[in-house]
Structures are given as C-alpha cells and as structure tokens.
Symmetry: C2
Subunit: 140 residues, 2 copies
DNA sequence: CATTTCGATAAGCATGCGCCTATCATCTAC
DNA sequence: GTAGATGATAGGCGCATGCTTATCGAAATG
C-alpha cells in the first residue's frame, strides 16, 4: 500500500549531517555537543538534581559529570548544594552561559537555514511543525 | 528572528525512537539493522563491489564483511567473483532475501504508521516529501 | 541512634564503530 | 614480465557509550 522508503532510512542520514554541522558550528564557541545540550536544557530553567538533568537530555547520569565540571569551571553554569537537601546539586545557567548558548544556537540555526531554504514556505513550516510534534510524541 | 528549537534536537530523539522500533521489528525476522540496510540496498539493484555497497549504505567497508557472510550463509544474498575481474565480488539479493526484506519492511512501516497516524493527511504528506528531499540533499 | 535510602562520583567492563595497517590475490601499465 | 594499483579480508587501536558496581556524604525512617 504505502510506497515509500523507511522513515529511519531517510531521517538518519539527515540527522547525522545535521549533527556533523552542529559540531562544526560549536567548535568556535569552545563547547562540546553535550555541553551545548546541557546549556540548552538549563536555559529553559534550573534543575534540582544531576540525575534529572541527565534524564532530561537523554544521557547517562555518570556521563555528564565531566561535562558539568568543565561548564562550571568555565563559569557557564553554577552547581551548588541544595540547602534543603545537601545531597542534591542545584544546577543553573549563568548569564555568560546564556550568552554563549544563544550565540552558538544562532550559528547552528544559520546553518540549518541553508538546508531549509530549499523548501517552499509551506513545506518548511509544515516540516518544522511535524518534527516538533513527533519529537514530543516519542520523547515523554 | 527564528523562534524554534534546533532541528537536530528535535529529530535526533525521533530517529533514536524509530531505530529502536526498527530493531524490535527486525528481531522476529532474524536479521540485524545492517543486514536489513544491505538487503534494502541490494533490492534496488545488484552491486559490483563490496566497497561500493559499503559506500552506498554509509558503513565502513571492513564492517559489513561479517554481515555479508551471514546473509550469504542464510541464502539471502549471493556473493560471486566477478568473471571479468575476479578481485571483485558481484553482490545480489536472492528471491528469499527479497521476500525477507519485503516482510521486514512491512512490519517496520506498520510501526511507523502509528506515529504518522497522528498527523493530518496534509502534514503527513508534506513531512514525508520534505524528509525525502532533505535526505537526498545531504546524502550525495 | 541505627539502618536504610538516595545523590554524586569514580572506576570497570563490554559493545559498536571509525580508522589505519598488513596480507593476499588479481588486474593494469609499462 | 615486472611494478604498481585495486579489492577483499583480518586484526588492532582508540573513542564514545551504556551498564554495573563501589564509595561516601547526607537524609529519612524506624
């Protein structure tokens, strides 16, 4: 009935190319993929535990420790013990971190625009809308 | 200006979920991801060298050897020395391979339809069309 | 208070992959 | 022919990742 290729077969190369471009765009800003993902997550609001952050960004909780160390050292995030429960660390982005994240995001989206520019305005809007919808459908 | 999340951030989780679902769908058919990708590539037409196949499926040429071994052993592909250049191996899918691939693809797409079913017909069509377009834009 | 639970951290192990090298057979060019 | 290029294959190295365990400080529970 359906005459089409598999979704994964179409989207996987696309995502690989997007990620490669993203890594290239991130390099001048001196932050890694994971660092950027963490900054983005914290830009949406602070997080009470590192486990929650790891869960939110889809990473192993033992994996992001080094990333947090480097971000903190660079002054892009703060990581203070929760006064209410001193086992937990309150994670928040700093103003410098926010600026860094916004600048990096601008470069990333600039690159993505080159791809999207080939689409008709209608297709472009529909694609972004659907991508957002589907991403939310599988995530939570 | 552009008020949206990064494309990669939206599509990556989606692709991960699609691939996980694909692996699950493939299991009853007794073939791996790479085997399915190889079968799909050969279903579109035979290939003269393994290096060309590896290139086509985006894999390392030393990585697919084991996959080809198993596919050949299972009778799903043929791998014969090219009479014209006996260094090269002519790769082709067998009828059994084609049946296996078609059956697996049907299961995979059935799962994908569950996701796409939440979309309006217009959005669904636009999304598939754009995904195909973008995949072709980054691939070659 | 003593036991148990929980969060962060470090360390170890297995996996899968990209990359690089070596080997062997074959083909091509001179 | 002889030298160099090409294809398949095997093996090893390094990296990133997921998963598991151990430790330690701090809470919570009884």
């Amino acid at each position: 009935m359906t005459e089409r290729r598999d979704l994964a077969a179409m989207l996987h190369p696309l995502v690989k190319a997007l990620i490669a471009a993203e890594i290239r765009a991130l390099e001048p800003h001196g932050i890694s993929m994971w660092a950027y993902v963490v900054l983005s997550a914290l830009d949406d609001g602070p997080v009470r535990t590192q486990a929650a952050l790891a869960e939110a960004v889809g990473a192993d909780k033992t994996r992001i420790i080094g990333t947090l160390d480097r971000l903190q050292e660079a002054g892009l995030i703060t990581r203070e013990p929760d006064p209410g429960d001193r086992r937990a660390r309150l994670l928040a982005i700093t103003d410098a971190g926010r600026r860094r994240r916004r600048a990096a995001q601008a470069d990333i989206q600039e690159g993505e625009e080159l791809l999207l520019a080939t689409l008709s305005p209608g297709d472009r809007a529909a694609f972004l809308r659907v991508a957002e919808t589907l991403a939310n459908n599988v995530g939570p």
